[in-house]
Every structure is written in structure tokens, then in C-alpha cells.
């Protein structure tokens, strides 16, 4: 049989078809970077979640890659992007998104949302309004909320009753908090055997707690609309830091020095601390390990009720293209759907960013059993975006280093905040030089 053009064409087509069907059979491999702001058990839960995803999506093979703390996850993601190996998706601390966008490291998700036949508004409407400020930047969606938190006031109900306080009414204002802390603190001579209140002072956590206190004091911490300004040297933050300092030095109801988040939890669970300001993200852990009744309340206010959100969102880095990008998007949508959002919330204590999660029967059942988990959601109308600026981490550390000096009694709040403002302004200078301070 003479070989004519038609047979050749047919053959080529056949080969192409075979090749494409072979491609369809080998799954798209994607990697998900995830920090573990939670304990070993939850790292295992994350693997369960990813395995479940892979079982239901045979055309995708996702691998969860543990990447340290939030700060280390940022370092690793940036290094990987610069080295040309961007991960398909990252669970990124929600306040790093702005900086990633400025550095052109996080990709806009608008195209993917549009391809699903949705508008940005319709897509973001699934999530609590307070979360949108850290995800939608300049009208474009850069991140999808995965697990989120607000700070809460945790109280030991047994200690409250013993001190003649009503555990069903946690302190609402700074003065009530102080009065309760005074009654709860127990001393033997000069030695304190039971602290009234404790707050975490380690990096990352400290900035967040200072934010909560500053906002409750009427302040803003940063300019929500422009990432080149922070408000450290202001009356509202001065009041917040002075209040904390007074709790330590004047009233001696809070331990001095820098106490890390996990140590705060440990001393609360051990009954050595009666109240603590801590993330909702610890709620499940605390409820399942406390040998006493735990109640939670809003962060007490001085001027108004206000807190910053915390937690993390899913992003797709720039440079992730084609099938990997599609697969990452499928994974992101799956991880943030109401069912999975609710499951992860129950496993951790983070609130579910997807509002529809709270309509599901298993969530209602859970909330009936653990009404404490409702408080974070009830606090959400008072929640605001988490501070996010150009070079978020160094700008935050500028404040944390100084506040740590205050907690250790080495500096006065006024001089500490003035120094923090100066350092932060210095770090923000290059960005401002290109934007707000540009001369035409």
C-alpha cells in the first residue's frame, strides 16, 4: 500500500491523541507549602486532608510540604520563587499577602474566578467580611481565606468562682479586666503562685496582641488603604502598651518579661494563670486538655470593641502556570469549601472562613456541644484586617523588639514607641520614596 498523505496525517493524529490521553492519565503533581502553627496532631490532620483530596481527584496528585513557622514559610516560598521552583499553592499568613503583591510574588486569582463564571464580589461573598481586607487588594483577589482567628480572652471558670467572680460574665472593659486580674492573683509573700492574666510576647504573636489592644483603644495600627504607613507613636498605642506595662509593674498581676504563646497556654492549663489573651486557633487544644471549665469572651475594650483577624490564606505564587495552576485552584476551592472549612475549624479551633460552614448540621451539633467556639464568630462584626505593609515582618519586628524591652522593664512605653516608629519609618522609606513621597 503506498503511503499517502492521508495515512500520514491520520497516523500523526493518532499519536497525538494517544499522547494526550496518556497525559490525562498521569496526574498533575502539585505541592502545597504549609506552616504548622499547630501541634503534631494537626500536621497529621493536614495529611489526612490532602489524602482525601487526592482520592477524590485522580487527575491531581497533591503533596503537603511542611515549611516551619509562618515567617519561615515566607522565607522558603520567596527563595523557591526566586530559584524558579514556585510551589503550586501556599498557606500563607494573611498579613503577608500585601507584601507579596508589592514584590510581585503572589498572583492575582481574578482570571481563575472569571473562568468559573463568577465575579470577584460573588466569590468573596462566601467569606466573612472582616477577612476580605487581607485578601482583596486594589480590587483584585490575591488570596483565599483558609483558617482564621481573632484573639480571645480565655478564663478559668473555677478560679473565677473561687475569687467570687461570675464566670458567665468575662471582663468586658480594661478596668473590669484589671479588677478581675487583681482578685485572681494569689501571692505567698512576694512570690506569685497564680497570675491574674498572661499574654504572649514572642515574635509574631506580640505584634498581633498589641494590635488587638491598640484597636480596642480606638487606634488603627496601620493605614488599611496604603501599605507605607504604621501608627506606632500614637496615643492609642501608647495607652495600650502603658496598660500592659502597668499590669506588670504597678499591679503585678501579669508576669513580666517575654512569655511565648505555648508557655502561656501551658501555665493556663496548669492553673498557674487564670486568664489569657490568646488566639481562637488554640481553642480546641485548650478545651480538650483543660481539667477545668474554660469560658471565653471578647478582647476587653477601653474605647471600643475591635480586634484584628489572624490566621492564614491560600495563595498561588507568580510563575505557576497551565495545568499546575488549574490543579492548585481546584485544591484551593476544595480546601475552602463549607464542608472542609468546617472540619478544619472543628479540628483546630480556628473559625471557618466560609460562612456557609455554620449552616451545616455537623457544625451546629459541634457548637451546641462547645458554645465557646461561637464567641470568635460573634466577635467578627468587630474584627478588622490584620496589619499588612511593605516588608511586613521587619516592620512588625521593629515594634516587637521595643515592646519586649518594655515588658522586661528596660524602657518606658513612650521612648520604646518613638524608637519603634523611627525604625519602621526607615524600613518603609524605599516604598514611600516610590509612592507617596515621589516628586513630579
Amino acid at each position: 500500500m503506498p503511503i499517502n498523505r492521508r495515512i500520514l496525517l491520520g497516523g500523526a493524529l493518532g499519536v497525538a491523541l494517544l499522547a494526550s490521553s496518556a497525559q490525562a492519565q498521569s496526574p498533575t503533581e502539585i505541592d502545597l507549602f504549609f506552616p504548622v502553627p499547630v501541634d503534631g496532631q494537626l500536621a497529621r490532620d493536614m495529611n489526612t486532608l490532602i489524602k482525601d483530596f487526592n482520592d477524590k481527584h485522580p487527575s491531581i496528585k497533591a503533596v503537603a510540604v511542611f515549611t516551619g513557622s509562618y515567617d519561615e514559610t515566607l522565607i522558603k516560598t520567596r527563595a523557591a520563587i526566586k530559584a524558579g521552583k514556585p510551589p503550586a499553592a501556599v498557606i500563607m499568613s494573611a498579613n503577608f499577602i500585601t507584601d507579596l503583591k508589592i514584590e510581585n510574588e503572589a498572583a492575582s486569582l481574578d482570571g481563575l474566578i472569571k473562568a468559573d463564571g463568577k465575579t470577584n464580589d460573588a466569590f468573596m461573598k462566601q467569606f466573612w467580611p472582616a477577612l476580605r481586607g487581607n485578601a482583596v487588594l486594589d480590587g483584585q483577589v490575591y488570596a483565599v481565606p483558609f483558617h482564621n482567628s481573632t484573639p480571645l480572652l480565655y478564663i478559668n471558670a473555677d478560679h473565677f468562682r473561687a475569687a467570687g467572680l461570675d464566670p458567665s460574665k468575662p471582663p468586658q472593659t480594661w478596668s473590669e479586666l484589671l479588677e478581675a486580674a487583681k482578685k485572681l492573683t494569689k501571692r505567698e509573700g512576694e512570690k506569685v503562685t497564680q497570675w491574674g492574666l498572661s499574654m504572649p510576647g514572642n515574635y509574631d504573636y506580640l505584634g498581633w496582641i498589641v494590635t488587638a489592644l491598640t484597636m480596642s483603644n480606638g487606634g488603627r495600627y496601620y493605614n488599611e488603604d496604603f501599605p507605607g504607613e504604621v501608627y506606632y507613636d500614637t496615643p492609642s498605642m501608647l495607652g495600650a502598651v502603658t496598660y500592659w506595662r502597668d499590669l506588670i509593674e504597678k499591679y503585678k498581676v501579669v508576669p513580666s518579661g517575654v512569655v511565648a504563646g505555648p508557655a502561656v497556654t501551658t501555665s493556663f492549663l496548669a492553673g498557674q494563670t487564670s486568664m489569657m489573651l490568646l488566639s481562637t486557633g488554640s481553642l480546641t487544644h485548650i478545651l480538650s486538655n483543660a481539667k477545668f471549665r474554660v469560658e471565653v469572651g471578647f478582647v476587653p475594650r477601653n474605647v471600643r470593641h475591635a480586634v484584628a483577624i489572624g490566621g492564614a490564606s491560600l495563595i498561588i505564587p507568580t510563575g505557576v502556570e497551565g495545568a499546575r495552576r488549574e490543579a492548585a485552584w481546584t485544591l484551593i476551592k476544595w480546601m475552602t469549601n463549607p464542608e472542609k472549612s468546617g472540619w478544619w475549624s472543628r479540628a483546630t479551633g480556628y473559625f471557618a472562613p466560609n460562612m456557609a460552614a455554620y449552616e451545616l448540621p455537623e457544625m451546629k451539633e459541634y457548637l451546641a456541644k462547645a458554645p465557646q467556639a461561637k464567641v470568635a464568630v460573634e466577635q467578627l462584626p468587630f474584627a478588622k484586617p490584620w496589619f499588612a505593609t511593605y516588608k511586613t515582618v521587619p516592620v512588625r519586628k521593629a515594634l516587637e523588639d521595643e515592646v519586649q524591652a518594655v515588658l522586661s522593664g528596660k524602657k518606658s512605653p513612650k521612648e520604646a514607641l518613638a524608637a519603634a516608629q523611627k525604625t519602621a519609618d526607615e524600613i518603609l522609606k524605599p516604598y514611600n520614596a516610590e509612592t507617596s513621597l515621589r516628586n513630579f
Binding site: 502553627p37 499547630v38 503533596v63 516551619g68 505555648p262 501551658t266 496548669a270
Partner: protein, 263 residues
């Protein structure tokens, strides 16, 4: 006096040992106590063992620390010999450039190193973790000093007997510099055994994780509480191989440090 220092220094280790065997997850009243509980428990070890694939991580760490050391011993011997005994143009400048490298903070090298690893196709492999350490400025410096301290007459005698350069290294220099080799090996192995940031950058697959990253999954629980017992047990598992090795060869090591002048 020495005894007092030794006592102060050993408290954290004693505490870790005690905490690892103490029943109760966290927060029993005597948590900070150094006195062991009457009934020790192995529950923390079981929990720690389950939390991470320790045999695999240990193997990876051994491969990384051992592989780095093996290549380093070759490179530092040759480089050290060249700087100590060979004459070539630009020797002094080359040596100072080598020493300058000691001044760089490793963190600034992360991105350039990672780009190079990716280009070499070593991303997410144990080789990728090892490669940047194959040459060691510190080791080269140390061997140069050690070789220079060896009398040249010994080498001259070997030369007369017709030994070529590698025979001179093999039979004269290397045996006499043994204390320096041992001292360097300890420094190298402990630093790479304990390294966290660089392996975290290179490694993605769980199967390639070294111990430090495996351990981190349960000590970095920012929003959880610190389960001291489990952390202590896990840490003990991590340091056990190194600690045993050190205890076994303690006298040898101490002598090496004394004769090579490192502390």
C-alpha cells in the same frame, strides 16, 4: 569551681531527661522539678516516635552529615596542603578570599545557593542539602595551620625517598594532623546534624526530611501548648546518636581539641 560550672551546664540536660519520663502531658504542679517521678513512663517516647518517621529522618541526617564530612575531609586536606606547602601566584589573595567567606552570614546565601541547586537539578534531594558544604573555609584554614606546624624536614625526607605529593599527604601530613581532623569532624557533624534553615529550604518531600525538620513539626506549635514531655522525649531521640558517640570517644575528642587549639 569546675564542678559548679559543670552542674549549671548540665541542668537543662537533666531536666530533659527527667521530663521525658515524667507522666502527664503538661502542667502537673511539679513540672519544672528535677526530681524524677517514682514511676517513669515511656508514653512520651511512644507519642514522639509516632509523631514523626524517626528511623527515616535519622537515616537522612546520617547521610547528610556523613556525606558532607566525607567530601569535606578530601577537599580541606587538599586545599589546606596547597595553602600550607605549595607555592603558586596569587596564593595569599586566594587564601584571604577563602577566609572572607567565613564572615558571610549564611542566611544571605540562601537564594543564590538555592538557584544554583535548582539549576543543578538537586532541588528536593539530600545531595542538594549537602552540596553547598562540600568545601569548607573553616576546615581549609584549620588544616593549613595544622600542616604548617608539621616540620618540613619530614616532608624533605619523604621527598628524598621519592614520594610524590599525594604520598607525602597520605603518609606524612594526614597521620600527623589527626587531632585536627577529629576536631574538625566533630564541629562539622554537630553543625550539620543540628541545621534547620537550609534543609527546610531545599527539602519538600517528607521522605527526604532530616531529623531537625521532622522534630520541628511538634516543637513549633505556636498556637498549641508545649507538651514538654513529648518535646523532651523527641529531642532526646534526636541527640541520642550524637551524644552516645561523644560519650564513647570522649577522651579522644578532648585531646584533639586541646592539641588543635579549638574550643
Amino acid at each position: 569551681m569546675t564542678l559548679v560550672f559543670a552542674l549549671v551546664w548540665s541542668v537543662p540536660f537533666l531536666w530533659m531527661l527527667v521530663a521525658a519520663f515524667r507522666p502527664g502531658a503538661f502542667g502537673s504542679a511539679g513540672m519544672a522539678s528535677l526530681i524524677p517521678d517514682f514511676v517513669p513512663t515511656f508514653a512520651h517516647f511512644a507519642e514522639a516516635w509516632l509523631s514523626a518517621d524517626f528511623p527515616r529522618y535519622t537515616l537522612n541526617t546520617v547521610i547528610i552529615a556523613g556525606g558532607i564530612l566525607a567530601v569535606q575531609l578530601v577537599t580541606i586536606t587538599l586545599a589546606g596542603f596547597a595553602f600550607a606547602r605549595l607555592e603558586f601566584p596569587g596564593k595569599r589573595i586566594a587564601f584571604y578570599l577563602f577566609l572572607l567567606q567565613l564572615m558571610l552570614v549564611p542566611v544571605v546565601l540562601i537564594v543564590p545557593n538555592l538557584s544554583m541547586i535548582v539549576r543543578l537539578g538537586l532541588y528536593d534531594s539530600l545531595m542538594g542539602v549537602m552540596a553547598p558544604y562540600f568545601a569548607s573555609a573553616f576546615g581549609t584554614f584549620l588544616m593549613r595551620q595544622a600542616f604548617r606546624a608539621i616540620p618540613r624536614e619530614l616532608e624533605d625526607a619523604a621527598l628524598i625517598d621519592g614520594a610524590n605529593w599525594w604520598q607525602r599527604i597520605r603518609y606524612i601530613y594526614a597521620p600527623l594532623a589527626m587531632p585536627a581532623f577529629i576536631a574538625f569532624s566533630i564541629v562539622s557533624v554537630t553543625s550539620h546534624w543540628n541545621e534547620f534553615l537550609w534543609p527546610l529550604m531545599v527539602i519538600n518531600s517528607p521522605d527526604n526530611r532530616p531529623l531537625t525538620i521532622g522534630l520541628a513539626t511538634f516543637t513549633r506549635g505556636q498556637e498549641g501548648a508545649q507538651a514538654w514531655g513529648v518535646i523532651a522525649a523527641g529531642t532526646l531521640l534526636v541527640i541520642l546518636p550524637l551524644a552516645t558517640g561523644f560519650l564513647l570517644f570522649q577522651r579522644r575528642f578532648v585531646n584533639s581539641f586541646i592539641s588543635s587549639g579549638i574550643k
